[in-house]
Amino acid sequence: MISMIPLVPILPLVGALIIGLFGKRIQATIGEFATGVLGCAMPGLAALISFGSFFELIARPATDRIIVSHLAPWVSVADFQVEWAFRYDPLSAMMLMIITGIGTLIHVYSMGYMHEDPSYWRFFSYINLFLGAMLLLVLGDNLLIMFLGWEGVGLCSYLLIGFWFNNPDYAYAGRKAFIVNRIGDLGFLTGMFTLILFSAANFEVVTLSFGELQGRMDTLAQYTLWGFPVLEVAAFCFFVGAIGKSAQIPLYVWLPDAMAGPTPVSALIHAATMVTAGVYMIARMYFMYSLAHFTLEFIAIIAALTCFFSATIGMAQFDIKKVLAYSTVSQLGYMFLAMGVGAYSAGTFHLLTHAAFKAALFMGSGSVIIAMHHEQDMRKMGGLLKKMPITGWAFIFATLAIMGFPGTSGFFSKDEILEKAFEESVWLWLVGFIVAGMTSFYMWRAVFMTFFGEFKGDHHTWEHCHEQPKRTVVPIAILAALALSLGFLNVPDFMGGDYSFSRYLSPVVKNLEEAQVHGMPDSIDGEQHAPVHAEEHGDLLIEVGLMVGSVTWTLLTAFLAYYLYLVNPKAREALMSRAGPQAVFKVLNNKYYVDEFYDLVVVGPLKKCYAFMGDFDKYVVDGAVNLAGYVGRGLGILAGFLDQHIVDGAVNEVAWASQTTGKGFSLLQSGRIQALVGATLVFFAAVLTVWIVYL
């Protein structure tokens, strides 16, 4: 199976091509269902290969789990030699399973969700393309292929956000996503150029492959650029890319708007896979980040801020998808917090669990939205659990996971992050801890507003509201089950586990503390450097204390949501009618007015700038050219002996609307075409003569 790994990205790409070219015809002649099956086929095959290969991979010894397949050269110029090559190792194997597994489920789910959409085929073409690009991103053995995937997923995100392009707002949201991502991409490129620059200066060939980069880190660490260590500069630049792609402050603004896309897209691209690319990138290049301490600290701070602010916004949204969107930004903040404190395996593990529970939440919300006839406002919902039991319970289980209820996947992953943050700094931990409570609050708020209490929409909707067909709810149920269970992959040792997930990743991703203990970073020698655990450093009591603390705190805030939204809504209304809370709410509901702020300081001035440049070009630069024409004309008249034709030319140039022009050229256009033809013939004859004479 492992030898078939290159097929994994290629299959969905082929699928995208086939559906893109023939999908419309297939849908028109054979039918929608056939198009959907075709759309699911390639991701399904890719998933089969991914899972099959995974079992082969873990059957290998830990030291032999990096398989690089070299396919063909890509760009070769002098010492710059980049290939088409894929790298299959524990990290990419895990990502492959997330992407193809959840991807296939979401494809199946989409067959129901996109039912009766006239552009059904186009949807499947795009989303196949997305899978292909995302798989390239994680499988690429060098930075350039990663960047190819990185931009490719951005393109698909753009296409899918604006999928219903006749709505100008949706089209705008797509463009916003693409351009904000481009800002980040410039960072990615600059990081890459920095590495190329210093790699080429010290070695004969630059291939940008991860293996090569890892081996060169010690050399590159000796140099500085603009007064900073090279690795800090590079790591920082790449993180700028991650800020864009993974929606961190200050570039997170595109993600909430991205919810304009169809809900399966939000689940797959804007929650489970694409937005985690930044986290993946740091894990992939952990060897560089471990040598860039300043950047790591910066990442931790950005992450904590993002985590906190987006959670506060999430508490004040009414659109169910917006709640989930801000929750995603906030959870991505958790992942980066882990990366920032050097706990790469913890961050990656949260990436995995988050993919499961957030996909379940989004798909659940999509199921609700369809049942509610495309209503997304939670204020018009309520009591839906009775009508949609499978969706409802799946949503509740996923909520348990995201709040970190003991035993669920979120419990293990979030707890590990908080513990690692605590070891680094109490302040980082405190932010993470507070946000955990806020997460629990806004998620239960959404649950209670949607699935419990009285229905608040109109009678007609309630009558028609029903559970969705199997192909929609079964994928949700599977993901909810995963959301509950995945945590057992990485049970900490003090609870009787052995951190099997971290152990699994350790041949390719070593946490900062291990790296420091064992020296950096050339060895890829697996299990003898098993993760170093808290017992060796800290206190069992602290670990248990932290855990109990956060569980209690999340339960408390869940109860608060229960009280305010279900038991005693009057108390909430009374509270919200006061001026202070109302003002706070307004700020939060309007997302701190960040979009407005950007319009004011970036978009507005930019608009003025290009409008000015356009006029400058038209009146100043071109004006100077025309002025030269005027001067020529004036001189011509004054001197009077200049060749008539040159003057005429200058006149024509200047007075573009004048009759002079018309007169001069009417000759040409009417009667003198023969003259032109004659001139051509003369020239032709001359050339021919010369040619014949000497040939």
Binding site: V77, W150, N166, V625, N652, T680
Partner: protein, 502 residues
């Protein structure tokens, strides 16, 4: 076949008399046959080209050389030949020629005149890329002006006359300086006087110097360098000499815009590489920082101006200004990556921009205007057209996996080695690029369907036939760029050495 190169260059001229004998509407078939035939006889040039020979400064390494005395009294020769630099441009010219015929399928005004001008233009462009004699180069350069002037001035849009004269005078202005510079080069060439540019370059690279006097208090080499640079910069065009370009594009018929952007602009950068930079490496270093500044201005300023346009074709024209800036940036950096990237960009910009102008032509043919805000929802009306346009726009934005990305990557990584800050500023051009492309795409194709245009027909066979070859090339070179790079890599590495050795 002997004289293969001459055949390729002059073949388009041969059927010109026939054009006037044929019925009016058959001219396009003849033109199509000729450009296709030219492409076919050009293939042996490309397939038989020895990629291991850099050429450039080695007369012995020029390939398919033909040499004969032309004007004995002046020592001017008919001297043509190709190296990696020229062969790429010839391939591009031959290809664009065929597609431009398809793009002119609907020309219905003085057909015979149009096609004879068209074919003459083809010969002139090919001639520029093969000439190794300074005077021969200059003749082809000026001959190119003549058909171009009429093609814009007669078959163009409402302000065609203004645009044609502006184009003509501007290029002529550069050309006069160029001729004077050529004469100076000939007169003060190291060693014996000659018009042979390869010979002079060989002497220069062997340490020879121009022994000319200071001109207006400026060193000879610097002065000649600047004069030549202005001449070529007008053609590229480089800020502030670029304002003829938007006018010419807006007024020119679609096919002529395709040729103008696809091939003509490259004559400027080709000339810089072949004559301007390499003959005066010291002056190049003296001027280099300024070149980088100009390149960055072109990239960013062009992109900002593109954002400000309301006419779709003008927007594309300014995007050309921006993209040509990348070529200059790569050449100014002069590193192997920068140089090879510049050459690759010359080819890629040719194909991608040709697509863009063809697509603008498609919508203009139907709506008879190009106001970006005058459309809306066209993606629902013309889905195939929308798909092709989004592809071309993405290629222009530099999406990885397509050809434009590879060349921009090489240029930027090559220039980052020398000019970090300038490279990052140039990178802003990439962001603005996404801005103007997607913004105009959104306004034309997304949103509510404009009822006025709800009955537009999607792209027809001819239009698809002109676009698909370019699409295939853009994808192919995005995935396997090496298959083109090998043609010019030795030459460009050699130029890089020549320039950086000083």
């Amino acid at each position: 076949m002997s004289h293969l190169l001459s055949w390729v260059v002059f073949l388009p001229l041969i059927p010109i008399p026939l054009l006037f004998l044929l019925p009016k509407d058959k001219g396009k078939w003849l033109a199509l046959a000729v450009t296709l035939a030219d492409f076919v006889i050009g293939l042996p040039l490309i397939l038989g080209f020895d990629r291991a020979m850099p050429g450039v400064s080695n007369p012995g390494e020029m390939q398919f050389v033909e040499r004969a005395t032309w004007i004995p009294s002046l020592g001017v020769e008919y001297y043509i030949g190709i190296d990696g630099l020229s062969v790429t441009m010839i391939l591009l010219t031959l290809l664009i020629g065929v597609l431009a015929v398809l793009a002119s399928w609907n020309i219905a005004k003085h057909e015979a005149g149009y096609w004879s001008m068209f074919l003459l233009l083809q010969t002139a462009m090919l001639g520029v890329f093969v000439s190794l004699d300074l005077i021969l180069f200059f003749v082809f350069w000026e001959v190119m002006l003549f058909p171009m002037y009429f093609l814009i001035g007669i078959w163009g849009g409402p302000r065609r006359v203004y645009a044609a004269i502006k184009f003509f005078l501007y290029t002529l202005f550069g050309g006069v300086g160029m001729l004077l510079a050529f004469i100076a080069i000939w007169y003060y060439a190291p060693g014996q006087r000659t018009w042979d540019m390869i010979e002079i370059l060989q002497r220069v690279s062997a340490g020879g110097h121009f022994n000319g006097p200071d001109i207006f208090g400026v060193e000879f080499a610097k002065m000649i360098f600047v004069v030549l640079f202005v001449g070529f910069a007008i053609k590229v065009p480089i800020f502030p000499f670029h304002t003829w370009l938007p006018d010419a594009h807006v007024e020119a018929p679609t096919a002529i815009s395709v040729i103008l952007a696809g091939v003509l602009l490259k004559m400027g950068t080709y000339g810089m590489l072949r004559i301007n930079f390499t003959l005066f490496p010291e002056a190049f270093h003296w001027f280099r920082t300024f070149l980088v500044v100009l390149a960055v201005i072109n990239i960013v300023y062009g992109a900002l101006c593109a954002l400000a346009q309301s006419d779709l074709k003008k927007m594309v024209a300014y995007s050309s200004v921006s993209h040509m800036g990348f070529i200059l940036l790569g050449m100014a950096a002069a590193t192997p990556q920068g140089m090879n990237g510049a050459m690759l960009q010359m080819f890629n910009h040719g194909t991608i921009t040709a697509m863009l102008f063809l697509l603008v032509g498609v919508i203009y043919d139907r709506a008879h205007h190009r106001q970006i805000d005058g459309f809306g929802g066209m993606a629902s009306v013309m889905p195939k057209f929308a798909a092709l346009t989004s592809f071309a726009f993405m290629a222009a934005i530099g999406l990885p996996g397509l050809s434009g990305f590879v060349s921009e990557l090489l240029i930027l990584s090559g220039s980052f080695k020398v000019y970090q800050v300038a490279t990052i500023i140039a990178g802003l051009g990439i962001i603005f690029g996404a801005g103007y492309m997607l913004w105009s795409y959104q306004r034309v194709f997304f949103g509510k369907v404009n009822e006025k245009y709800a009955d537009f027909k999607d792209v027809n066979v001819i239009e698809v036939a002109s676009l698909v070859p370019l699409l295939v090339i853009v994808v192919y070179l995005g995935i396997f760029p090496n298959n083109l790079i090998v043609f010019f890599e030795q030459s460009m590495n050699h130029i890089s050495e020549l320039l950086l050795a000083r």
